[in-house]
Amino acid sequence: MTSDDARDATTPMKRVLRYSAYGVLYVAMPLIVLAVLYVVDQPYNVPSAYRVQPTEWVRSFSETPPTNGWSDDTSRWPPGRQDGEPFTSVWYRYTVSERLDTPTLYIPYGFGNFEIWQSGTRLYQLAAPVPPLAYSRTSIAVPLRDGDVGARIEVRLTRQASYSGVRYVFVAPADLAARDASDQALFETQLPIAVLVLMLGFAAAVGAMFALRPKEKHYGWYALTIGLWAAHSIHGLIEAIPFAHFVWFALRYVLLTWLIAELFFVNRYFGIRAPRLEWFCAAVNAIITLGLIAVASIAAASLENEARFFASFTVVNLWFLLLAFIVTSRYFIAVRKRWDFESVSLWLASAVVIGIGIRDLAYEAMPPGTIPGSVFYLQYAAVVPLILFGIQLIRRFARDARTAELRNEALNQIVEERTTALERTYQQLSEEAQKRALAEERSRLMRDMHDGLGGQLVHALALSEQVDDADLKRALRLALDDLRLIVDSLSPTANSLQDLMASYRHRVSRLLQRTGFDVNWDIADETDSVTLKPNEALSVLRIVQEAVTNAVRHSGGDTLQIAVARVADGLQLTIRDNGAGMPESVVERGLRNMRVRAAELGAGLNISSTSGDTAVTMHLPLAGGAPAT
């Protein structure tokens, strides 16, 4: 059955059936548990045949078994502490009725301060009867000196409470007593310590979770609830009470009233909003707390007041019962809302707790033997739902933490990606800025050359015409030509090698024509896709210019070929003439100049000079290899 099914069952008949099923389940669960307990729970390991009843008693503060004043009226417990007495002190006398091999006096559930005497000798004493008295719940097993039939045993009970009864006393074989004592120790001491540690562990863990996430209020309420339970459970482990016993009781009950924290917790855990109910319960609790404190302070005045004090506990117990049902109703709301394993199991566990609570109350209130067993179970049962909650809280916390971690990781990844993107953008921007700065700088240089250097060279050239110095004029013209090459190589509009060669061709065509050379230009169209950096462009142009100048000046030929071709892995430049070949000195000098420039380019240079065919060939490898087009 799912929650959808539960909601769909809307007809009155179906609703009645559904709630009846809930009710049966709710009642059945504790009944089953109690039935199991009824069957398996034995009162003690010691058969009731070994149980002994006191034959006489005497109220006395004597340090040794009194010699007179004994009463044989065993139809009722002797009166307890009277006004003016510091505590209850009663001597009981038991008689051995059966011959045993290892006769042992065994008191399985000692609730007070016991002394055991036989034949004028003290066999056992928990503590000296000096207030505040010991509050022992441990079992006492004392081997007897005299196990003969008719042998007498004196047991002194001293207590702060006015109640003077001792329910169970056995004279039994040692092994049976020992076995039962160990069971009692398990249930009354060892298990409570284990549960206490468990509860403190959960209180600490969830308390820490609350400290980490103060917004999750239910963590705090849970830690408070289980912490209070832990604190309350300590009372079963304490041997000596540091206060008057009614103060001790009052403290325990005040502590218990604050288990209202569990209501606050459960409401928040299941997301149930019930502020008015919470205020009501808190107010009732406050009244009960104040009342307990007031009554406890009055109780000290007289034994009558003390009796009234304990009678008022009935009201408090009823309140606890009501509170338990209110909390259980929260579970039921959760079950209706969610109908999942968690809510149902918690709800049924709460039913079991209430069932066991009723059993424990009955066990204490009814005559011995009416309810089987020898142990109060509520202290364990009440912890079960809390531990279930605790496990669930820790799981949720761990899951949330994991989710948060995953989200964090995802977030980190996004941040990393964004950072990388940002860095990339920044880099691109700075590259752009660099390019722009470079372009601006270049155009500034160009302007300077145009307006400044160029004009000055022309001016100087005009001057040289007046002084008629041919060498000066030639030098200036060379300078101007070189400047033009530089300008060409830096031109923002000449993007390709073809553009560069076009400018060069345009510049020198008329000059070459005048020299009488037949110039054969052969610039491959593929060079349109070859772009060179300004420094590379300048080197190429200078090499070409040098080769052309050499050919024109020194070859003595009449045909000049200027070719640029695309080859497999780069470019091939060839300047070839049909002259007589260059003088060795020129070849050397030209080679040197051109080599230096070719080396800067990473190009291979070859000059072959034979009569009738002189060729300067440069091979310029290109990074891109063969062009894409």
Binding site: S443, G454, G455, R505, H506, I523
Partner: protein, 219 residues
């Protein structure tokens, strides 16, 4: 024998101006109409002066000659304006051509070259460098793509061919040989190209110049 051509020279550098005037004067067909070293002087000297051709240096102490070119093109439409430049391919030369200049001369050209260029300009020819040709090709090829309705005169196929060959650095002679036409025809083609450029709107010129980064301002 044709009548001498009256040439006006605007050049701020005195030595260079003298050199130019000397070279021009050496040609029998050239007569110096006047010369100036600044825009103001030029405007003063030009009033009422008979001029057949102009040689303009662009960068002058009191400003750029482009406005003066525009003025003189309006005032004396028959007198071609030539820009005198050290390099011939600078952005200012192109801006001047857009303003109506018909070509450029190099400052260190020989006397024959200068006189020749002046006569050719008067005859309608326009000297063209590869850089200018490249610019013109881009200008006219870009036209259909722009939102400007401007150029109703896109280049003819032949005109484009002439520009493309010029962009490869071929001379008029070589271009004429390549296309199998006379050198005069090439001159006609280039003149038409210049005219078409002149009628394109000034707004587009500015737009294009910006695109090319020739305006020197931020983009």
């Amino acid at each position: 024998m044709v009548a001498t051509t009256r040439v006006f020279v605007l050049e701020d550098d005195a030595r260079t101006r003298d050199s130019l005037l000397r070279k021009l004067a050496a040609s029998a067909s050239i007569e110096i109409a006047g010369a100036a070293g600044s825009l103001a002087d030029a405007r003063a000297a030009l009033s009422g002066l008979g001029v057949d051709a102009f040689l303009f240096d662009l960068q002058l102490p009191d400003g750029n000659a482009i406005d003066l070119i525009r003025e003189q093109r309006a005032e004396r439409p028959k007198a071609p304006a030539l820009v005198i430049s050290v390099f011939g391919d600078e952005e200012r030369v192109i801006a001047a051509i857009e303003a109506g200049a018909q070509g450029y001369l190099l400052k260190d050209d020989s006397g024959e070259d200068l006189a020749d260029a002046v006569h050719r300009a008067i005859a309608g020819e326009s000297p063209i460098s590869p850089a200018i040709a490249r610019h013109l090709i881009r200008r006219f090829q870009a036209t259909p793509n722009t939102t400007e309705p401007a150029s109703e005169n896109p280049l003819s196929e032949r005109e484009l061919e002439v520009l493309q060959l010029a962009a490869k650095g071929l001379t008029y002679q070589e271009t004429a040989e390549t296309l199998g036409v006379s050198i005069n025809t090439i001159g006609t083609y280039t003149r038409r190209v210049y005219q078409k450029l002149a009628v394109t709107s000034r707004a587009q010129a500015i737009f294009e110049a910006r695109q090319m980064g020739w305006m020197g301002d931020d983009q």
